[in-house]
Symmetry: C2
Subunit: 241 residues, 2 copies
Amino acid sequence: MRFTSEQRFDDGVLEREFTLGEVPGILWTRGSAPAPLILLGHPGGLHKMYPRLVARGRHCAAEGFAAATIELPGSGERPRSAAAEEARADLRRALAAGEPVDDEIVERLVLPLVEKAVPEWRAVLDVLLSLPEIGGPVGYAGGVIAIGLRLAVVEPRISAALLFAGSFVPRAMFEEARQVTIPLHVLLQWDDEGNDRQLALDLFDAFGSTEKTLHANLGGHTGVPQFEGDAGNRFFARHLK
Amino acid sequence: MRFTSEQRFDDGVLEREFTLGEVPGILWTRGSAPAPLILLGHPGGLHKMYPRLVARGRHCAAEGFAAATIELPGSGERPRSAAAEEARADLRRALAAGEPVDDEIVERLVLPLVEKAVPEWRAVLDVLLSLPEIGGPVGYAGGVIAIGLRLAVVEPRISAALLFAGSFVPRAMFEEARQVTIPLHVLLQWDDEGNDRQLALDLFDAFGSTEKTLHANLGGHTGVPQFEGDAGNRFFARHLK
């Protein structure tokens, strides 16, 4: 891992940009004592997402967590995947036409992304956990929900996950959802224009965890209320501290 | 209103039992400054429900609210309604047989209860708001959800409601749900053995409020997690303070 830049905010939070191989990312920490770590998922495009990510990263750090995020495969400055772009265009077309979204489109879009992103997250996790200011345990917070789902199944170092149900999950992954056993906090925007509410409710039902909570709020994809940030931190405080 | 007994707990919370006409109730306050008020709904049977009600009442009072509850018509020491008992038996029979619950049974059980309980709540509210230690604004918290729904529509002094979606609501009241405009916080137990999950989700969808949040947790009717008490108080702190 190579740190490429750093800045310190007024509140003492240190932000460092890094790259690991071809994967760029950002780390937020405060202080030098080993802190539990929250991995921040997002839909791709670190620069575009930066305002929201830095707010969440600083909020985490202010509450005693370290937080980190990485760029998704095929997003931001990373090489595009022609197949993924095509699947995304097909998805947009179906949504714009008000048609039901064919599971086959979702599979083409999401499965290759999950296959590529999850090992990258795990490699970053290996390095982050070797830093003295990061102690674990580890949580995952955010979309893409299919990535969080897979991480929750395959990565035993992740102890709790806050999943934003704001993107499609292929039906093929519902069986996997039953294997998730860590505590879950699922966020759903009730009127998300780019998501399927019933699919999200079915997925919440499918998760095998004995502690799982769904927070659904009125509003569209980007309308998650401010107070859910606090609720998320309280969830992680219960499970990571 | 006649106060019939009082006790003060170690934490300074004062509990007073009262009657207003034929309706018994309990009031929890701390200090003499005018506090916002939370009305605590419950499924009936003040004595049976006391352990849970006193915990909620004291929790509210500790956070700077006054809290009050009253006995439901036909419950506890109040005269039984033969029609309601029959409807309740029909509901239990349908649930025990695993049959879908006929809306006609729900209407027979719930509508007369709502018609009787809501004016009683409003009469108690008149008196409570005249006490110097209660200032308003007012919230309603708890089941029976149909009572909370009706109160939210007809009682303009109620500014926010936390509704426990743990009991059936007749479809006839869904139109009424669209008239609710106050902020709502709805609690749903995902595996509630005596409730219909889809009906609860449809009802959440029907509420007309522009701020509404659903918290669904794994578990049965009585399994609401401890941390939801804090979440509820934070909801009321946002809207009543």
